[in-house]
């Protein structure tokens, strides 16, 4: 099968460069909104919409935006689209708006979006940027839904609010609480590592440069589970300061 460029741009976000499980971006909403499938799906689609819109606009403006103020410009564009999505959700899906609460405006500071703006949309044409946004957004949505399914089915014996009869007496309620989120996330990262063994890219080249938290992470977040373990974090704080 011929692997054409735009298709691979679209598909890489689903597993190989999955923003949540491989690039480890957007951890906060991943943990906070995955207590039920409905909320997780809504969060994923909201982020997808913001991601596609901001990618398109930033890609269009990439020649106009001066390099030295690009990050503030990106933030303004993203915050704007987040607010637009927020207003639309509030108007047409008030239930979802209640459910997501403060995490909806906080899409603004979701590293995935700023990261893609910096890494991809700022350098590529409109079509590719849009595809990249869709791919990454779908990967984010997929990851959230997978995690929410595990947590909701096992923790609350329901799927998207529909009760599952035979599990009612076997709820592991711990999973829908805060510690359960961290536990499931940790296990899923290990699982995805096993599935993509050797194929997972080094995170640094994909996300860190675009993540405003990059220097902040040092080797913590942006570290591939095994390959980069050897790179000991020596004097990283100085590097961070120099940035």
């Amino acid at each position: 099968m011929k692997k054409n460029g735009s298709l691979s741009v679209l598909l890489k976000g689903l597993l190989k460069e999955n923003p949540v499980f491989v690039l480890i971006l957007g951890t906060c909403p991943t943990l906070a909104t995955t207590t039920n499938v409905t909320g997780a799906f809504g969060m994923g689609i909201a982020a997808l919409a913001v991601l596609v819109c901001s990618n398109i606009l930033i890609s269009l403006l990439r020649k106009v935006i001066p390099d030295n103020v690009r990050i503030p410009c990106y933030i303004v564009v993203i915050a704007g689209f987040v607010t637009i999505v927020q207003m639309i959700v509030q108007a047409f899906l008030p239930g979802l708006y209640e459910m997501l609460g403060v995490y909806l405006p906080l899409i603004t500071v979701n590293c995935i979006i700023l990261g893609r703006a910096e890494m991809f949309a700022g350098k590529n044409n409109v079509g590719k940027s849009a595809l990249d946004g869709i791919g990454m957004g779908l990967g984010f949505t997929l990851a959230l839904v997978v995690m929410a399914t595990i947590r909701e089915v096992l923790g609350n014996a329901s799927f998207a609010g529909i009760e599952i009869g035979f599990l009612q007496n076997y709820k592991i309620e711990f999973l829908v609480k805060a510690p359960g989120g961290l536990l499931v996330y940790g296990c899923l990262i290990a699982l995805v590592y096993v599935i993509t063994r050797g194929k997972a890219p080094l995170k640094k080249s994909f996300s860190c440069a675009g993540c405003p938290n990059a220097a902040n992470c040092q080797t913590g977040t942006c570290e591939a589970p095994a390959e980069t373990v050897a790179e000991t974090p020596a004097a990283n704080s100085e590097e961070g300061g120099a940035q």
């Binding site: 001066p66 704007g80 607010t83 637009i84 207003m87 639309i88």
Partner: protein, 386 residues
């Protein structure tokens, strides 16, 4: 320089573009959001008043309403919908209650609670269509007495509030507040701080005596009547004057418990007045000890009861000196409504009292303490005769 001006311009223009986009979206979505919010707010109101229209939130600053009421909405048909926050087993028990123009409950619904049994979810249905007297007559549900009693009281508050808003007047004071008001009225010099006096002598015609904490005097309660007597004065009322004389003449002497054999183990101290009455302090097992005879005292979950008994075996007064029972359950044994029931009782009929609902162990422990007090009086009396 030129570069930084260009950068600033670019940033400002992007801000402007986004602001315009936002304003446009807001222009289209704002009316829908407003409509949704109004509909959602009305939906909650309609649930408790299905035929209500044109709800408007009221400013009730000029009225004195029961403290549980947090929000009031007036309907076009003359009814009101109240949002109330009360406490059942747990705090933050929020109820919506609609009251028709004719003073009946149009509906009541619990909108958020931390109660344990879930009874509050359907209890409101039993109250719909009722008047204030009917509401109070509805049974509480055993096992969730705290929850359902709180529910009923909240609905009562709503009905009272509707009367007040309609220009009527209702006494919305709690029994404690009524007592405090009566005492202050009888003896203003007491400045509202009174302590109930533990009575050790038979005083005819007097129900209770309160002394002012600041030493200004005492208040004698005779049925509905409250008579204040400043310190050093003698009341013009004959009954009160007689009681004053009896109390003034009373002297109390401690009894050495080691001089007697076979006294109940739980008897902590005993005294005798010159008129022959006994004052005993007896312990009872609380909920934490579950009535076992041998209990660990350090757990603190015992009840200490002070009781005065005539030589003939009639209780003069009772007081809960110490208890550590569960709040909202057994702790009610420290209330006068409970221990006041023992006044005038004898060994034959002291068990004919209303138990504390939901606190069987506490009640039983209390009764056991009284039983021991009667036992002790017999032994102490026997010893005195020898």
């Amino acid at each position: 320089m030129k570069k930084s001006i260009f950068s600033t311009l670019a940033l400002v223009s992007i801000c402007a573009v986004m602001a315009i986009l936002l304003a446009l979206t807001n222009y289209f979505t704002a009316p829908i959001i407003k409509k949704n919010q109004d509909a959602a707010a009305d939906a909650a109101l309609l649930e408790v008043m299905p035929n209500g229209t044109g709800f408007e939130k009221m400013d009730t600053g000029s009225y004195t309403l029961p403290k549980t009421i947090t929000e009031v909405y007036k309907a076009a048909n003359g009814g009101y919908v109240f949002k109330l926050e009360t406490a059942g087993y747990a705090p933050h028990f929020v109820i919506m209650c609609g009251v028709n123009a004719d003073g009946t409950v149009s509906g009541a619904k619990c909108i958020s609670s931390e109660e344990t049994k879930g009874e509050e979810k359907t209890y409101g249905e039993k109250l719909a269509g009722k008047t204030i007297d009917d509401v109070l007559a509805v049974d509480t549900v055993s096992g969730t007495t705290m929850t359902t009693a709180a529910y009923k009281n909240a609905v009562k508050d709503a009905l009272n509030a509707a009367i007040i808003l309609g220009g009527g007047s209702v006494d919305i004071r709690t029994p404690e507040e009524i007592l405090a008001d009566n005492l202050t009225q009888a003896l203003p010099a007491g400045e509202g701080q009174f302590t109930r006096l533990f009575i050790v002598e038979v005083i005819e015609g007097i129900d209770a005596v309160y002394t002012a904490d600041n030493g200004a005097g005492s208040v004698y309660v005779m049925g509905e009547e409250f008579i204040g007597v400043p310190t050093g004065a003698t009341s013009e009322n004959e009954t009160v004057a007689a009681a004053q004389a009896v109390l003034a003449a009373s002297e109390v002497e401690k009894i050495d418990l080691t001089a007697y054999e076979g006294l109940p183990k739980r008897l902590k101290s005993a005294s005798k007045t010159t008129t022959g009455n006994y004052i005993l302090e007896v312990e009872g097992a609380g909920f934490g000890i579950m009535n076992t005879e041998e209990y660990i005292h350090s757990s603190g979950e015992y009840i200490l009861v002070r009781v005065s008994i005539t030589p003939e075996g009639k209780i003069i007064d009772t007081l809960t000196v110490y208890q550590a029972e569960s709040e909202n359950y057994g702790a009610a044994c420290a209330k006068e409504e409970f221990y006041g029931q023992f006044d005038g009782k004898t060994e034959e009929n002291y068990r004919e009292i209303d138990a504390i609902s939901g606190a069987t162990y506490t009640t039983n422990g209390y009764l056991k303490a009284i039983e021991n007090a009667f036992k002790a009086v017999k032994i102490l009396k026997g010893g005195a005769e020898e």
